[in-house]
């Protein structure tokens, strides 16, 4: 999921080309039902997360597929009565927010620098970022476990935040770069003629103009670090410190899964994502599709 390299704007993204209605006739009888099929393929799993979380464990044993049952909030009350859940929520929030802040702090200037200078160093840097982004996470977690052990970064949030940040900097930088590239250089030059320094130009001219890019990147980094569990599972020595994603990963690979409880946990893990998604959907849709991939 974290492999995304979109670039600058394509002129007409967002404005559907005015396709005349008449020629759709031959296609529509097939397309309509197919759209509904597509909807089912993606909506049914969400539906079942919610339905199952409202079931009694006994209902799940009799038939997992049934949709007629007496809803109960039992799964939620037992999940929420667990003190550990609040710690997990807090951990998720700290790790995701920390990773987002640190990643943006480092990646925004990097995206800007790499957007403004065309040199061999830039090309090499971009190439390295693409390679880093392609490296499987398992190739990072094995040495990081040892390195963090030696540096005393295991078993604490900072270690996970740093590891997540290192994982997401290439993605964030490559995503931000085209947004800065889209800002006309003439604007910057005008500022420097007016006497603004390089930092000042960056802060008060570039950053405000590229804010959509920053918001898109920030949202995606938050989403990705919220769902990341491989580092958390391996760096924290006890599940007491797990964020929600790691808790979910641990419970789903255990024997004798309590499905209503697990699905309730999945719903709780997804609610912040739903809230964030509701506010940023338009931004994400445009940010990721503004232009082809490069």
């Amino acid at each position: 999921m974290s492999i995304v390299i979109p670039t600058t704007k394509s002129a007409s993204a967002g404005t559907p080309s005015p396709h005349p209605k008449s020629k759709r006739r031959a296609f529509e009888p097939v397309a309509g039902p197919l759209r509904v099929v597509l909807l089912l393929i993606y909506a049914v799993p969400i539906l079942f997360i919610i339905l199952t979380s409202l079931k009694d464990p006994a209902d799940v044993i009799s038939s997992q597929a049934s949709v007629l049952f007496t809803p109960t909030l039992q799964a939620y009350s037992s999940v929420l009565s667990n003190q550990g859940l609040f710690i997990a929520m807090q951990q998720s929030l700290v790790i995701a927010a920390g990773t987002t802040a640190l990643t943006l702090l480092v990646a925004i200037p990097a995206g800007y620098g790499l957007a403004r200078v065309d040199s061999r160093i830039t090309t090499a840097g971009l190439g390295l970022l693409i390679v880093l982004q392609m490296v499987p996470q398992t190739a990072n977690v094995i040495p990081l476990y040892q390195v963090f052990g030696a540096w005393g970064l295991l078993n604490q949030n900072l270690g996970v935040i740093i590891a997540d940040t290192a994982l997401l900097i290439p993605f964030a930088t490559l995503l931000l770069r085209p947004f800065f590239r889209g800002v006309p250089e003439a604007l910057e030059e005008a500022a420097s003629i007016d006497g603004a320094g390089m930092m000042r130009t960056f802060w008060s001219i570039m950053l405000p103009i590229a804010r959509n890019g920053v918001a898109t990147t920030g949202t995606l980094v938050f989403l990705l670090s919220w769902g990341e569990f491989l580092y958390a599972v391996n760096f924290f020595q006890s599940p007491e410190n797990y964020p929600l994603s790691a808790l979910l990963a641990q419970q789903v690979s255990a024997f004798g899964i309590d499905w209503p409880g697990l699905m309730a946990l999945a719903v709780i893990t997804s609610i912040p994502i739903l809230i964030l998604f509701t506010f940023t959907y338009r931004l994400l849709r445009e940010g990721l599709t503004l232009g082809a991939v490069k």
Binding site: Q137, T138, E185, A292, V293
Partner: protein
């Protein structure tokens, strides 16, 4: 590609303003060079927390490292870890699994993505709603999506209820517990998870086709199927090329769904290269061997990166 045209525009403006700005050219180019300093923090951060660990990974792969000796000086053993991993019989199946997995995810992910994009490139309310749901699924943590599919694919799950009701099979199909099905099941779920992103990118490419092109085709009497085949498919070709590499990489790196749905099993049926390295290091505590397997996967990534760079360059040369 319209993106290219746009990307070049700022450069053109620069040349214009270069002429009009009353500044010696050398001062200007000095300023531009300095801007690379903005990338310095990222460079340092990645050097310490990405490249140094990767260097350690390579060292580890050439050493005998267990959980006990992890923080002691490592004994150099050359390529023993690689040959041992191969003779143990888990490396070659993992390579095969990886190839099959990547193929399935790439083919279904691309065809499904394009199909969904064509279906959803209209501006109806249903299209907008379906696209919204799909992007939401893409935004959900993989561990949530993996969990629900593990549930739906269970013996008493929804898919098996449908299968037995329709009469495709009298007994429940062990999608995730049978060596014949497990890899396919996880790969298909992974394709399902990547289709929304591919659809989003394809959709942008389709919406970028000028409306007049479609109008001209209509005057010539083309129907929608001909439009898809003769106009949309060629128009999204550059997008397809890049998305192919991205989807291959996505599939190759896939870890979350395997971890959640099968944990590499049954047996070694869903051990892909990255997952095998994880098992070797963190379950069998043979960090040297896990590192060796991970090094192989990093080398494969380098090959993919070169292919990627070449394809982007050749596409730029074409357009």
């Amino acid at each position: 590609m319209p993106a290219d045209r746009m990307a070049k525009q700022p450069a053109r403006q620069t040349t214009l303003s270069d002429g009009s700005a009353h500044k010696p050219p050398w001062r200007h180019s000095m300023g531009r060079r300095n801007k690379l300093a903005f990338a310095l923090p990222a460079g340092v951060f990645l050097l310490i927390f990405s490249f140094f660990p990767l260097f350690q990974l390579v060292r580890m792969s050439l050493s005998d490292v267990s959980a006990r000796t992890l923080n002691l000086p490592w004994e150099f053993v050359g390529f023993d870890n690689f040959s041992e991993s191969a003779t143990q019989g888990s490396l070659i199946p993992a390579l095969g699994n990886t190839v099959v997995f990547v193929l399935i995810v790439t083919v279904i992910g691309l065809i499904g993505g394009l199909a969904a994009a064509i279906l959803l490139s209209t501006s109806t309310r249903l299209s907008a709603f379906v696209l919204g749901i799909m992007v939401f699924i893409w935004a959900l943590p993989p561990v949530v999506n993996g969990s629900v599919w593990k549930f739906l694919l269970g013996d008493a799950g929804l898919i098996n209820s449908v299968v037995t009701t329709v009469g495709l099979s009298t007994d429940a199909i062990p999608f995730l517990y049978d060596e014949r099905f497990a890899l396919f099941s996880v790969a298909i779920v992974n394709s399902w998870a990547v289709i929304p992103f591919n659809a989003l990118v394809f959709r942008a490419a389709i919406l970028g086709i000028p409306g007049e092109t479609f109008e001209a085709a209509r005057i010539d009497g083309a129907n929608r199927w001909q439009e898809i085949w003769h106009m949309i498919v060629p128009a999204v070709r550059p997008t397809t090329l890049v998305l192919t590499v991205l989807t291959v990489v996505y599939a190759f790196r896939s870890f979350d769904f395997i971890f959640v749905m099968t944990y590499g099993g049954p047996g070694v049926a869903t051990n892909t290269l990255p997952f095998l390295s994880y098992l070797q290091a963190f379950v069998r505590f043979d960090f040297g061997m896990g590192a060796a397997t991970a090094v192989i996967s990093v080398l494969l990534v380098l090959v993919l990166a070169v292919i990627y760079a070449r394809s982007v360059r050749s596409e730029e040369a074409r357009s």
